[in-house]
């Protein structure tokens, strides 16, 4: 309880220590999470994804400057990949956010993916919760530089930004399932480069294939040169417009449910995983014996382990 009290008062060190302990599954911190959770739900969550080098962190640096002018308190959770070989990681997103390096009201936290699939890390939501409890108004979640299929960032975000750059493919890439379906806002960064107009047209063509329904959000396409802060004022405005839309249409409720669902599923999976690792080996050994002897099948054995009745 002690750390949480300090977090609620805005203590940066306490928040950082709590985040770290939660990430490492320290039992005392996990116990504090129950109380942390009661103090969350206020922050607005913006997710950003895109290929490595597309400019996600640079866009965030520019956006943070803009939102800080409005005196909003900002949290950033930036995820980079863990090495499958050594288990180590280079967390370099912070490097692009130097202008906020000395701002007390901007809390940037780098996380390593630690093997989590989906472009985030297991600790992402707990980190968001601590920053939320600390009183941050907007929390940006920057996913691992991603390909096409890592879409968890959009499942936890209220506003999802997909960052593209010219020169990475033709219009067929625009039609593919996955990340391209998840954006509330498309950002074409490095827009000074050749091909950005073609990319915009391909995107527009892709979006026009979805018939516009009343009371739905039409994804925006914005061109930016984030390193020069070009186009990011407009991006900040569109983020706020999307927020207003979610609130006025009550779709924000849907975002919250989607986020809760992802967290619940992840919690169930990790609890089961933990259960499996710590449960008495006897049952597992017996079930493996049965499988080898074809006395049962994997699915029925699994149901026995988690103590569920067999499905009819």
């Amino acid at each position: 309880m002690k750390l949480l009290n300090r977090v609620l008062k805005g203590d940066v060190r306490a928040a950082a220590q709590l985040i770290r302990s939660l990430e490492d599954d320290v039992p005392e911190a996990v116990a504090e999470l129950k109380d942390v959770y009661l103090h969350t739900g206020q922050a607005y969550i913006v997710g950003i994804a895109g290929a490595p080098g597309a400019g996600k962190s640079t866009i965030l640096e520019s956006l943070i400057d803009i939102f800080r002018k409005g005196n909003m308190k900002i949290g950033v959770v930036a995820i980079d990949p863990t090495s499958p070989l050594s288990g180590g990681a280079i967390l370099g997103d912070r490097l692009r956010m130097q202008r906020q390096g000395a701002d007390e009201d901007v809390f940037i936290r780098s996380l390593a993916s630690r093997g989590w699939k989906g472009g985030l890390s297991k600790a992402t939501m707990n980190t968001v919760h601590v920053l939320d409890a600390m009183g941050k108004d907007i929390i940006f979640v920057e996913a691992v530089g991603s390909g096409q299929g890592e879409v968890d960032f959009a499942r936890i975000a209220d506003t999802s930004i997909v960052t593209l750059i010219p020169g990475l493919g033709d219009e067929i890439q625009m039609m593919k399932a996955g990340i391209m379906e998840m954006a509330d806002i498309f950002v074409i960064n490095k827009a000074e480069r050749e091909g950005s107009d073609n990319l915009r047209m391909s995107l527009e063509a892709m979006l026009s294939m979805t018939p516009h329904q009343p009371n739905t959000w039409q994804p925006n396409i914005l061109l930016t040169e984030a390193i020069l802060n070009k186009g990011t004022e407009q991006l900040a405005k569109v983020i706020l417009r999307h927020k207003d839309f979610l609130i006025s249409s009550n779709k924000i409720e849907k975002c919250r449910r989607r986020r809760a669902e992802l967290e619940l599923t992840a919690a169930i999976e990790s609890t089961l995983h933990h259960h499996l690792e710590t449960m008495s080996g006897c049952l597992l050994v017996k079930l493996i014996d049965d499988l080898v002897l074809r006395k049962t099948d994997p699915k029925s054995a699994a149901l026995k382990v988690i103590n569920l009745p067999e499905q009819k």
């Binding site: 967390l91 390096g101 780098s110």
Partner: protein, 134 residues
């Protein structure tokens, strides 16, 4: 339950010094040794480094300086860490540093200073033996 804590280190270059080949090699060596490395790059102010060390809750800060300003810059990082109550974080340094400056840097609170010629393995081994995982 993960009872083994992951070591986190911050690698930074304070001051007006663009020679970052060495510091990148160090960052990479830590990565390959299984550490989570927050790399903040060149031209950092002591304040930025201290803020990052606190927000990232690292076990170790590694400072590199090849410009000759190590006495002022490293000591300033140490002073600000103390001021913020974060001087439990282990700080080491390296770069083009004359031997006679090492005692002064230790006096400022740095745990170790690695001079030219140090092997990567020495630094990693030292780190494993000397940081306390909280």
């Amino acid at each position: 339950m993960n009872l083994e804590r992951k070591a986190r280190v911050l690698i930074a270059k304070p001051g007006l010094d663009g020679h970052d080949r060495g510091v990148k090699i160090i960052a990479r060596a830590y990565r390959d040794a299984g550490f989570e490395v927050i790399y903040t790059g060149v031209h950092q102010t002591p304040e930025q480094i201290v803020n990052a060390a606190i927000q990232e809750d690292v076990d170790l800060v590694g400072l590199s300086c090849l410009s000759g300003a190590h006495l002022y810059l490293f000591s300033e990082v140490m002073r600000q860490l103390r001021e913020r109550g974060a001087d439990d974080i282990t700080v080491i340094g390296g770069g083009i540093i004359p031997k006679e400056d090492v005692p002064k840097l230790r006096e400022a609170g740095m745990k170790e200073v690695f001079l030219p010629g140090t092997s990567l393995a020495q630094i990693i081994t030292w780190t494993r033996e000397n940081i306390k995982l909280k």
